[in-house]
Amino acid sequence: MTNAQQSQSQQAAVEDYRQDFPALQQTISGHPLVYLDSASSAQQPASVIDTVAEYQRNDHSNVHRGVHTLSHRATEAYEGARDKIQGFINAASRNEIIHTSGTTESINLVAQSYCRPLLSAGDKILTTELEHHSNIVPWQLVCEQTGAELLVVPMDDRGQLKLDELDNLLTADVRLMAIGHVSNALGTINPVKEIIAKAHALDIPVLVDGAQGVPHMQIDVQDLGCDFYAFSGHKMYGPTGTGILYGREKLLEAMPPYKGGGDMIIEVSFAGTVFNELPYKFEAGTPNISGVIGLGAAVDYLQSVGLQQIAQHESRLLDYMTQEVGRIDGIRLIGTAENKASVQSFLLDDIHAHDLGTILDHQGVAIRTGHHCAMPVMSFFKVPGTARASLGLYNNTADIDQLIVALKKAQQLFS
C-alpha cells in the first residue's frame, strides 16, 4: 500500500464514524445537513446519547450521599468519568480533575479562587488578543476587584501571536498568564508548550483555555506543563453543561472554595465549616450527574476513534476547505496562521455574515456567523463579524463541496 492509499484509507476510517451521529442523518430545507459548526458545539454520538438515557432510565440518584443501590451506581459512574478524564489528559491525580459547567466556569473559578486572593494593585494578568470572551472578561472582573491590570499579547495580521512582544510583557509582576490553546475565531494553534516554558522560567503560572484544543488533538497536561487547563464537554461530543478544570494539585490545595454548599464540606456548624478535600472542595451542590456520565462516554468515544487519527483527518480536511473556499472570487480569508486546527473564518464580497448564514442554512449548511464571542479579534480585522466553518471528526470532503455550492449561490443571489 502506498502512503497516499494508506492516508486515504485512514481518512475513510474516520469518516465512517459519521454514521454514529444521529443528528447528522437529517435533512434541512430538503438538503442533507452539512454541519460545519462544531467549534460552537459538536454533535453527540449515539453512545453518549444512549449512556445518558440509560443513566436517566435506570441509575439516576444523587451522588456521594445515599447508601442505596442507585446512589452507589450514580456515584460509581460519576467518579468513573473523572478517572476517564484524568487518563484522557494524563493528569497526575484524579484530585486534579474538577467538574464544572464548562470552560467559562472553569476560568472564573481560577480568576476568583486562585487570582483574587493573590492580586493587589500593580499586579498584572497577561492574556492575548485572540481570546474568546470567556478568557477575557473573568480577568477584567478580578482586575476591577483588586486593582490589578490586564495586559494583552498582540497578534499579527495572520492571526498569530507576536512572540517577541510576549517576551517584553512577561515580567516578574505578572501573576498569571491565560492563553487559548486554539483560537475559536481563527483556528490558530498557539505554541502553548513553548510559552508555558517561558512563563515558568519567571515562576509565572499559566492557564490554558483548551475549549478548542481538546476535541482536535491529544492533550497531555503534564507534557504541556500548564498549571490550569480548562475545557468544555459539548465541544468534544459530550453534553452541554459539563466542563473540566484541571489544576495542579498543589495549587488547588491552597485555593479557597469557589462556591459554598453541599458536598464541598466535611463538617458544618455555625462556628465554622471544614471544607472537603480535593476534588470535592470545588464541587458544591448536586452536580450535573447525567452530563458528567455522558462526558465520560464522550471520552471513551474519542479514544476509540483515536485523537491522532482525528487530528490527521481534520488537518487534511481543513487544508481542503481553506483551498476550496479560498478559490472563490471575492473571498477574504480571516485567520491564516501557519499552524491551525478545525476553523476557517471568511467574508464573501460585501455580503454580511448574517445574510450568508441564513442563505447557507437554507441549503442545509450550518455555519456560525457573527463575532464568535471574540470581539477584540473582530476589531483587529476591522470587521463586525465573519462567517466561520468549523470541522469535526464526522465531516468529509462532500461537506466542503456543498459549502462551496452554497456560497456560490449566495453570491449569485446578491450579485
Partner: protein
C-alpha cells in the same frame, strides 16, 4: 431574474428585490448634522450597530432622517425604508408605524396582521423575516432605534 433560486424558493421571499435594492443602495445613509433626535440600535447577536438621526421641527414633524452603521442586508434595508417613509410625517404617526411594523413582523400569522389600521405599503417587503425568528431582530433594529430617539431615551436600545 436570479438563476440561483427559482421563484418558489423562499430565499427570494426573504431577500426580495426591494430589500436587496435598499441594502445595496441605502437611502439617507450618513450622519444628519442638524439632527434633533438620535439613538443607537445594537444587535448583540451579531454585534451590528446602527445610529439613527431625525430632525423634528416645532410642529413635531419629521423633516429629515438619516442613519449610519453596519449591518446585514435586512437591517440596512429596513433602516433605509424607515428613513424613506418617515420624512414628512408627524412624529406621532412615525411611532404608529413603529408599533405596526414591530407587531406585524413579530406575528407569524399573517391573518392577524391583516387587521392593521395602517397600510404598511412597501414595508410589507420585510414580511419574509417572519419565517426566520433569528432575523426578526435585524428587521426591527432601526425601528426600535427610532422609537427610542423619539422618546428621548439616552441609552442605546438593544434588540435583546
Amino acid at each position: 431574474m436570479n438563476a440561483a433560486f427559482d421563484n418558489n424558493d423562499d430565499m427570494r421571499d426573504l431577500y426580495r428585490e426591494l430589500i436587496l435594492d435598499h441594502a445595496r443602495n441605502p437611502r439617507h445613509f450618513g450622519k444628519l448634522d442638524n439632527a434633533t433626535h438620535c439613538a443607537d440600535g445594537i444587535n448583540p447577536l451579531c454585534g451590528d450597530k446602527l445610529r439613527l438621526y431625525l430632525h423634528v421641527d416645532e410642529d413635531q414633524s419629521i423633516t429629515a432622517a438619516g442613519f449610519e452603521g453596519s449591518g446585514c442586508a435586512i437591517s440596512v434595508a429596513s433602516a433605509s425604508l424607515l428613513t424613506d417613509l418617515v420624512i414628512g410625517l408627524p412624529s406621532s404617526q412615525a411611532r404608529d408605524y413603529y408599533s405596526a411594523v414591530t407587531q406585524r413582523l413579530g406575528t407569524p400569522d399573517a391573518s392577524i396582521a391583516e387587521s392593521e389600521s395602517i397600510d404598511l405599503g412597501k414595508l410589507k417587503a420585510l414580511d419574509g423575516v417572519r419565517e426566520y425568528p433569528s432575523r426578526i431582530k435585524c428587521a426591527t433594529l432601526a425601528w426600535h432605534a427610532m422609537n427610542s430617539a423619539l422618546t428621548n431615551q439616552s441609552t442605546p436600545v438593544s434588540t435583546e
